[in-house]
Symmetry: C2
Subunit: 361 residues, 2 copies
């Protein structure tokens, strides 16, 4: 349980922008990064000389990788269970296997979270059309049918408005394991990025208010326009989930602000990694989410998440990356991910617009 | 004169912490870095896969390097003139050759700065002991005898208190070209990091107040405890020097606050590169000095240097690096340079202590 030293090497599964930003943060802490990714054009390969290009199922490559680093983390929750098992047999994997197992299966996730007494949208497991009809009867409509695994950015889900839509939605998504979730009429979506250290200490960033466009995060605004009591409850809830998972690292927790529900907050989903809605932290916090994650997995004390200014983070999707450097103005802090090819719907970078606080000199 | 695109590659001469931090900033802008350094253990080699290990006099290696990148910059002012000439014949070198020529020769530097009407300490060129005696007669004592080239961190200089010290000081430093400078009784040392874009635009960070220990920068505090009028004059002066040099990039300008002099400010020296006394910018500015330098040499618009909080930057020298991660507290933001070996007097990292402003929420 001791802390890894300066000069340690972390292994990162996944070579996208999150892996890249983790590696950049590790460098600021005097720590090396080794990126493991099957895609030879991974943007994270540009920020460290240490890389492995191999499949996540390549046991030989995984063993070599794990043996060459001091700790392994990941930038995505869909790390295969067998990959995680191989690595964890050689070197610490942080966050651990339970966080992966829970977060990569939507049904397991909802069972886990509700199991620790935290509100989620009412849900039913769906294995057949008969299950779906029963679930609709139990939860009412509208409701959302989702694959339990590998859904992201709105992929792998169908909203069912009328009973006669059920068969088509089921046909479109089966035979994958499915879950039906009650539709929660929510006013806002917020998220909390929380960190938990190896010693169990918690540190959360302020909640962000998120807007999506075409099912992709468009902006995160901090502070969120919510009462302080609700912000505190969201932070408390995120910490409780991290503690229940015996989590080590940074975790994103998405909430619906749903005034019709008892506590006014519903957990939508968790992500066992740094989170797009936490990219604002790099611009205005003493410690950003990437450094915080690296500190946690190294076994170091967590950093200070204090926020110095208000901020709006905007994702640059597809051709929007042209905003860097063309149209930057006062308070704008750009981040480009170094992806060679801009594709429709591909996250290419982001801009933090920093708003100096009223009252500051 | 057009701007280089996202995906461009910059070449950096020098693989120390400044080159490393420049490469990290370039990565945040979606730009690749190729590090050129003779030392195979250079810390900057850990933050990019593109490197050349070769001498600065290796013409073949220099040509290959220059041909593989879109622009070249450097982390140290003592780039040999011939090295600069070879590179500039192939690809833009920014800042340019004049900035190098002026800043790597203390006599040329003082002549240039005073030539544009900016106060420096009175000085005399010294080529012989007779010159030194005449210089002492002209400038009075105490005075400081300095080598004109390759001095740093207090190396290459002797303070002369009494006429009879002259011969020993001359013997210790000659036959190198020398300059005698009048000793300026100063109250504070401040510095301004200023950027000048390819379009001639200027952007300066707030002046920092610097304290040294054993001739090595120990802390930079921002804001400096000086009147606003003096801060404005320092910023204006730094910009005037950059403009006079037709400079492109970030430049550090060190000043003595000397109440006995006409304007109250004396330029001590300039550094044609990112500057140790600007490391605080990474913690509290919208754009930090490293990103600002990269933007300038890419021909991009300069970023916003707005400061969000007060800050004290402390260098970690030698074994002081152990402060990371052991003794970090609230408001502390660490940066370790990834140097394998901690030696006496070697800069190993720094910590920014961020102080939230009074009046902010």
């Amino acid at each position: 349980m001791s802390a890894l030293p300066l000069g340690a090497t972390i292994g990162i599964l996944g070579g996208g922008q999150l892996g890249r930003m983790l590696a950049l943060a590790a460098s600021r802490l005097g720590v090396k990064s080794h990126i493991y990714c099957p895609d030879p054009a991974s943007p994270a390969f540009d920020v460290t000389p240490l890389k492995t290009v191999a499949a996540y199922e390549d046991e030989e490559a995984l063993r070599r990788f794990a043996a060459s680093v001091d700790v392994v983390t990941y930038e995505f929750e869909n790390v295969p269970a067998e990959t995680a098992r191989i690595i964890a047999g050689i070197v610490p994997l942080r966050p651990g296997a339970e966080a992966l197992a829970v977060s990569q299966d939507r049904l397991a996730e909802k069972q886990f979270i509700s199991g620790v007494g935290i509100p989620v949208a009412p849900f039913c497991k769906v294995e057949s059309l008969a299950d779906l009809d029963a679930a609709i009867a139990a939860l009412g409509l509208p409701a959302v049918l989702k694959t339990t695994r590998l859904g992201y950015d709105g992929k792998g889900q169908r909203t069912i408005h009328k009973p006669e839509d059920a068969a088509e939605a089921f046909a479109a998504l089966s035979p994958k394991p499915l879950v039906l979730e009650a539709f929660i009429p929510f006013e806002q979506e917020i998220s909390v990025v929380v960190a938990r250290g190896l010693d169990g200490a918690l540190a959360a960033f302020d909640p962000a208010e998120n807007l999506h466009r075409h099912h992709i995060l468009k902006t995160s605004t901090v502070p969120a326009a919510i009462p302080a009591s609700l912000a505190a409850e969201a932070v408390r809830t995120a910490g409780a989930i991290a503690t229940a998972l015996d989590y080590v690292g940074v975790m994103g927790v998405e909430f619906f602000v749903a005034p019709g529900t008892p506590g006014g907050l519903i957990v939508n989903e968790i992500a066992p990694r740094v989170h797009n809605s936490g990219h604002w932290t790099e611009a205005v916090c003493v410690t950003d989410q990437f450094e915080q994650h690296i500190r946690a997995i190294l076994g170091w004390p967590l950093g200070d998440p204090m926020r110095l200014a208000d901020v709006v983070m905007e994702n640059l999707v597809g051709d929007e990356i042209a905003a860097i450097p063309d149209s930057l103005g006062p308070g704008m802090r750009p981040h480009a991910y170094g992806k060679a090819e801009s594709r429709l719907g591909r996250k290419m970078g982001h801009i933090n617009r920093i708003i100096r606080r009223t009252g500051a000199k």
